[in-house]
């Protein structure tokens, strides 16, 4: 599997993401600067967590206008895989590559704690190594993760099986509509989620629940 991690000014989980990808695939991903105008030939593009452009204006809004995002859109348009984590998810909604928006947490505070998620869909490259209904624990670390979309969109997402992760009952940290933690695009090749699978791939730090996501991607792409 060949992968790339996009680096915006203010990205801060770019290294964590690259480490997780390297651990599982054995290959260091290409680190692609936001101002670059070409993407290397890769199977997977990850838009990592952080505070791109300091979260100024709106989280992800300025990053969505970066030169490289045009290339990321083109990559997705050709069916290439794109994964957005946390701020990366915000960038993908701001880029209209995923529906909905991520608003300020309902509790108005930054939330940093492990959250339990239910894996809703396992037909994807991203989740093929999980079991449907499986509970996994990933750390959440965000101030704006409150997923919002209009009722019609939410119904459609659910109807089309595009809600990939939900917060387990009672463990929604941010007020997201229908407990949605992660969604995918219509063509099933772009996924965004708020919590951080890339930070739980080493048993030293607790149950390595994030490992299966990257292993699934390697399996699907090799």
């Amino acid at each position: 599997m060949k992968s790339a991690v996009i680096v915006f000014p203010g990205s801060n989980r770019d290294r964590d993401t690259a480490d997780a990808l390297e651990l599982v695939s054995g290959k260091r991903p290409a680190m692609v600067w936001h101002a670059d105008t070409t993407l290397p030939a890769v199977d997977l593009v990850v838009v990592p967590g952080g505070f791109s452009y300091g979260d100024y204006l709106r989280c992800g809004a300025m990053a969505s206008q970066s030169a490289i995002m045009k290339e990321v859109r083109a990559h997705a348009g050709k069916g290439g895989l794109v994964l957005g984590i946390c701020n990366g998810f915000q960038v993908l909604t701001e880029s209209h590559m995923l529906p909905g928006a991520l608003m300020r947490n309902a509790g108005l505070k930054f939330v940093s704690r492990p959250v339990t998620l239910t894996v809703e869909e396992t037909q994807l490259s991203f989740t093929r190594r999980y079991e449907k209904g499986q509970h996994v624990s990933f750390p959440a670390a965000h101030g704006e993760g409150n997923y919002y979309a209009d009722e019609e969109t939410l119904d459609r997402l659910e109807g089309e099986g595009r809600v990939v992760f939900r917060y387990a009952p009672g463990d929604n940290p941010n007020g997201s509509a229908r407990d949605i933690a992660g969604v995918m695009s219509e063509k099933h090749n772009v996924m965004g989620l708020m919590p951080h699978p890339e930070c739980v791939v080493d048993p030293l730090l607790g149950p390595p629940d994030g490992l299966a996501m990257f292993q699934g991607l390697v399996e699907a792409l090799s």
Binding site: S112, P139, L204
Partner: protein, 734 residues
């Protein structure tokens, strides 16, 4: 030129004697710019004029110390070519006036101190002290400070891994916000601030200069009064996004060999960075302020020299490397400007709009700065054993203590701090010490901050020792070898002899403990004048300790992990209730002697416990501190809901046994076969040891048959902080 009047001198926080000294050093009346420069460089905050003679007594050396006090941060060798760089610093006054920005810029400032030395910051800690919980300002301050720390640290992508939060009325008008940063570098890539050599370009990097924070260092060197809120304009505004760019850009530049010296612009901004770099390098510096990137129009030389705008650095480059450096800063969209040159005159020369605004010998700002041996009045420490009611219910008291403001869970606080970023946080907040892996190695650093101000108030000397001993013990309890400390000395007005005594005794105590425990001080910060309307804070010398673990998989943590483990206490329990949490929370008294610290015993007991952890024989350890033995046991039971049956035959009096705060103690839990051996070995080594019982069940049960469910304890422990902050309850405190 403005005539310098006595009023102007006073407004600059300088005494008449200090002004006379300026006149004789300059040989003429200073310009306003020069006076401003003197005022910040000679402020307590920058010059340490009241503490310098005493700080010299601290031990600062060990074979593993690469850089002691005097640089932006201290550096220790952690093997394999790796170095840990760390420091703690206060941002007390600004945080009281504007809690969010005060705390945020405190975090930003200490991070710059660490990355200016070439390190990537890997962990943040903070030691926070607020006024009593029913003071009308406390909630607002807690809320602002916590979000400020989170707002800055989270955006930087550096995990905030722990710290302390305490409440006491002595901080009602003067909160303490002490932030500590730990970074990693290679031992051969450490950057210093000595601007050696003449003719080298002086470059300005980072944010533009505005009018914010002018005279912040002088403000931090004066007492507060009711009008202090009017000083809000002297609080700086932080921009963590710019700092993140500055961090990455500096590390990128540091990977080249273009830098001769680099220093962050912290307190007193351009003034202190240029003066200190010139002083350390034995050179002179000439600045052209027309070249300084400015955020506002018509700024004067005085304003630019005294601005404390954040996220700025000053560097001296090798000649000809300007273009290479500029390209890096341009890539990161930061300002870069050559604003001066080093000279061989040993003078600081400031030019603006074709005029020389300042021309002064650099040594006048450093070596010739005043140093005071301020008089102090020795006060006898509090003594005596306070009375207490003997038939109070032990478990009911335990429950009360665990749900009290100083003892309840700090989850509400640390769940606002990103502690998972960088994917190296092995032990999250809530344990004895945080543990952060050295990326890509089996090694880890353990980090803690400690001080018990009520002990320091009762007995500044023993309190100073205890702060160091507790930091050492917390590092030991996770299995780390304690290596060095940074101290953040928070006291009142040093011009009062009784306060000066607290400072002198505190430093003596810290020095004694650091010597005995081979735990040198490699840097720190003094924050004096923590007084409002003449009321001083409790002496609060916060100690930040760092230790090294060779094999992180051996790490111990507080949680009981198995049913049937034997619960053992290492160290002697005499039942010292003076100045204890029990006495304060249950009896409503802040009385008696502080617990004595026997440093020899501390070392012996700690080395024994660490040996067990390093040998992989014990994975469950907790140091016994605030609240005593039973509180420690409850804290071990709550994480996983595993209870314990505990007691000791022939106890004369249960209350001092369970709640006394004798030092040098640890609770460990180990499987039976191992426990038997541990007890025998401790006895053979003449280390006091007692088996208290076994883990298991869902309750803490005492040998008199009384019992309390762990879930009930946890309920109170976890709910106090969120309840308080949501305003649902205002608990009555003593």
């Amino acid at each position: 030129m403005t005539k310098i009047t006595p009023e102007i001198v006073r407004e600059h926080g300088l005494s008449d004697a200090e002004y006379d000294r300026i006149l004789s050093l300059m040989g003429r009346e200073p310009s306003m710019v020069e006076l401003g420069i003197f005022s910040v460089m000679w402020s307590e905050h920058c010059s340490y004029k009241s503490t310098r003679v005493h700080l010299k007594k601290l031990p600062t050396k060990a074979p593993w110390v690469i850089q002691g006090p005097g640089e932006n941060a201290g550096v220790i060798d952690i093997g394999d070519g790796d170095a840990a760089i760390f420091k703690m610093e206060s941002h007390n006054h600004p945080s009281f006036i504007e809690p969010y920005q005060g705390a945020a810029t405190g975090v930003g400032g200490i991070m710059r101190d660490v990355f200016t030395m070439g390190a990537r910051p890997i962990a943040m800690m903070n030691a926070l002290r607020f006024g009593e919980v029913d003071h009308p300002k406390t909630r607002h301050l807690v809320s602002g400070v916590v979000s400020g720390i989170g707002g800055y640290g989270n955006c930087m992508g550096v995990p905030t891994v722990g710290g302390e939060v305490n409440f006491h009325k002595s901080y009602n008008g003067n909160i303490l916000v002490n932030a500590m940063c730990v970074g990693l570098a290679r031992t051969d890539k450490i950057f210093k601030s000595a601007a050696e050599g003449a003719g080298n370009p002086v470059v300005y990097i980072g944010s533009k200069t505005g009018r914010d924070g002018i005279h912040g260092a002088t403000m931090a060197s004066a007492e507060f009064d009711d009008a202090s809120e009017e000083k809000r304009p002297t609080v700086q505004v932080g921009d963590p996004f710019t700092e993140k760019l500055l961090l990455e850009a500096c590390l990128e530049l540091m990977a080249t060999d273009a830098i001769i010296a680099i220093q962050d612009m912290g307190a007193a901004g351009l003034t202190s960075s240029s003066a200190e770099m010139g002083d350390k390098g034995g050179s002179g510096i000439e600045l052209d302020l027309d070249k300084v990137p400015q955020r506002e129009v018509n700024m004067t030389a005085y304003e630019m020299m005294l601005s404390e705008s954040q996220e700025r650095m000053l560097a001296v480059l090798k000649p000809g490397r300007e273009k290479q450096a500029e390209a890096i800063f341009k890539k990161w969209e930061l300002d870069f400007a050559v604003i001066g040159i080093t000279t061989n005159t040993k003078r600081l020369v400031v030019k603006h709009k074709g005029k020389v605004e300042a021309d002064m010998p650099i040594t006048a700002l450093s070596d010739a700065a005043p140093i005071y041996e301020r008089p102090y009045t020795e006060r006898k420490p509090l003594v005596g054993e306070p009375s207490y009611e003997k038939n109070k219910n032990v478990l009911a008291s335990l429950k009360t203590i665990l749900a009290s403001p100083d003892m309840a869970s700090r989850r509400w606080v640390w769940e606002q701090y990103d502690h998972s970023v960088m994917a190296d946080t092995v032990q999250v907040p809530g344990g004895d010490a945080a543990v952060v892996r050295v990326h890509g190695t089996p090694k880890a650093l353990a980090i803690t901050t400690d001080v018990t101000p009520r002990y320091c108030q009762a007995d500044p000397l023993e309190g100073g020792k205890q702060a160091v001993a507790e930091a050492w013990r917390n590092l030991t309890a996770v299995g780390a070898r304690p290596l060095a400390v940074t101290d953040n000395l928070n006291y009142g007005n040093p011009q009062k002899p009784e306060i000066m005594w607290q400072i002198v005794a505190g430093i003596d105590g810290i020095g004694a403990a650091c010597r005995a425990l081979d735990f040198p001080v490699i840097g720190g910060n003094c924050s004096l004048y923590n007084e409002t309307n003449g009321e001083g804070i409790f002496p609060t010398p916060a100690i930040g300790g760092v230790g090294l673990m060779a094999d992180v998989t051996k790490m111990a943590s507080v949680a009981f992990k198995r049913e049937g483990d034997v619960v053992i206490v290492i160290g002697e329990t005499k039942g010292h209730l003076g100045q204890s949490i029990y006495l304060r929370e249950i009896e409503g008294k802040e009385e008696g002697a502080a617990p004595l610290v026997d440093l020899g015993v501390e070392k012996k007991n700690g080395d024994f416990v660490r040996g067990l952890i390093e040998a992989g024989r014990v994975d469950t350890v907790h140091d016994v501190s605030d609240g005593g033995l039973l509180v420690a046991i409850a804290e071990m039971a709550m994480p996983r809901g595993i209870g314990a049956n505990v007691g000791l035959a022939g106890l004369p009096d249960a209350i001092p046994f369970w709640f006394g705060e004798d030092q040098a103690r640890y609770v460990i839990a180990a499987p039976f076969a191992q426990a038997e051996k541990i007890v025998a070995e401790a006895r053979a080594a003449t280390i006091p040891v007692a088996e208290l019982g076994k883990t298991g069940g869902g309750a803490i049960t005492l040998d008199d048959g009384s019992s309390v469910a762990v879930t009930a304890l946890k309920q109170g422990f976890e709910s106090w902080f969120p309840g308080y902050m949501s305003g649902e309850e205002i608990p009555v405190t003593n």
